[in-house]
């Protein structure tokens, strides 16, 4: 078994023991770098390889061999290391996709922004009849379906909200103007036909943060359940 080179050794190694051919040296460097937990320097490699090997030369050849492959030989400081090719780094992650429904508050807020954009938060609250929580708007902005528009030139200069291209993309709309109008919604049967107004409407209940919590059409249905 060849012993590792120990260049500083006082006794020179038998010079009549020729170093392995370059392609064998390349295999050796390849294997050693592959198995190593840390980058290895030329000196590290020389210490591991049989006497007479020339790691520097071999490294250059190895680097060429891996050029354009899925794995590349990188230099890190003084050391060399195999790494996944940078353009393939996307393979080094797995993505788990979680399907979730938007909360009712979020859908309603989104709908209002889509139909009324640019719209201020106060206007959204007026239409929804409840306060809009910071979280709901943040979520829609984070999803990139809603973004801030221009400030309204009214006292307080409130921010407005508009829908984004990503929103149009997701919902398959050319523009927000393509959203069907109320009469179309009614024609499409999307408006529930409820008992007519009996003039007993109540004032809007101002709401705290959790506008999600209100049980919406629950109680109304129950009242008329008893046959």
């Amino acid at each position: 078994m060849p012993s590792p080179a120990d260049t500083d050794d006082a006794v020179p190694r038998a010079p009549d023991f020729p170093p392995p051919p370059l392609d064998q040296q390349q295999r050796m460097v390849e294997a050693v770098l592959f198995a190593s937990a840390q980058p290895l320097t030329v000196r590290d490699l020389a210490a591991r390889l049989p006497a007479g090997c020339d790691p520097a030369e071999v490294l250059a050849g190895l680097r060429r061999h891996y050029q354009g492959r899925g794995v590349v030989l990188e230099r890190v400081g003084d050391g060399y290391v195999f790494r996944t090719a940078p353009d393939l780094s996307f393979l080094m992650q797995t993505e788990t996709v979680e399907q979730r429904r938007l909360s009712r508050a979020a859908v309603e807020t989104l709908a209002i922004i889509a139909y009324h954009q640019p719209v201020t938060r106060a206007e959204i609250e007026e239409i929804r009849g409840v306060a809009v929580s910071r979280g709901t708007l943040d979520q829609l902005i984070e999803m990139e379906w809603v973004r801030m528009g221009r400030r309204r030139m009214t006292p307080g200069r409130p921010a407005t909200f508009v829908v984004t291209e990503a929103f149009l993309d997701h919902f398959g709309l050319e523009s927000a103007r393509d959203l069907p109008g109320l009469s179309e919604l009614r024609a499409a049967g999307l408006l529930d036909s409820r008992p007519p107004d009996d003039g007993m409407s109540l004032p809007v209940i101002p709401d705290g943060d959790d506008d999600d919590a209100i049980g919406h059409d629950g109680p109304a249905d129950d009242l008329f359940d008893d046959d």
Binding site: M92, Q93, V97, Y115, F171, L191, M200, S201, D217, A220
Partner: protein
Amino acid sequence: MAGNTPDVPYLRPVPDAASAGGAARGDGFDAGTVAARQAEESLIVEVDGYEGPLDLLLTLARSQKVDLMKISVLHLAEQYLVFVERARKLRIELAADYLVMAAWLAFLKSRLLLPPDPEAEGPSAEDMAAHLAFQLERLDAMRQAASRLMGRDRLGISRFQRGAPEPVARRRRTEWQAGLIDLMRAYARLKTRDEFRPYAFDRQNVFSMEQALDRMRRMIGFAGDWTDLSDFLPDGWAADGKRRRSATAATFAASLELARQGRLEIRQSDTFAPISFRRKPAAEN
């Protein structure tokens, strides 16, 4: 197999003096006998290393220096019995399974030496011998397989994994499920909210027939004489118009139900005149 506990070594250690003395007294025998005796004694000294009778049998079988396929089971049985006998002479206490094996081999030996008994049931002596030979060969084969296995290019000894494996990042992405239809429904709901919203919040102003029935059942017992409907309305419901209407309607409906059950009488002197109730006297009985 009583008496065999795993902790008991198969053989008690041989006192040094006994074995050394035995070997020393080998003078005078011819060289072949001395070698044979030494071989046997070295077996006994090593007996701690055997993993039971089959292991020992395999070692003895190898000393025949023939292919295990051609092993003489009769000879092997004799070797084993000699071994056990020697162990006894050396005052070595053999474990129970060695003695059981000795008894079995003695039986096999006698069967092999006697002419076959045509009346005998069960396997013939040759079958038993063949099976023993098979077991020895199989154990030997498994031992060789084991050492070949351990001699392979093993991971971490001859073959190595990537020293710096690259971690796979796990990303969780949330895909929101919302279609145009959800959006339009939500908007439609908002725009028509006023049409049905009152019902959602009007519970406090509605006195249900259940509540009215409940209330009247409790009250009617005390109403011995005609009592006006308005006196049955719950506290605080007579002042507000909406609440009064709801409570009046519910109470009247409840009174009809109680009248139907024969527990109540209803009286109204004229159209739009006040309605009054009393407990139906018959209901007492």
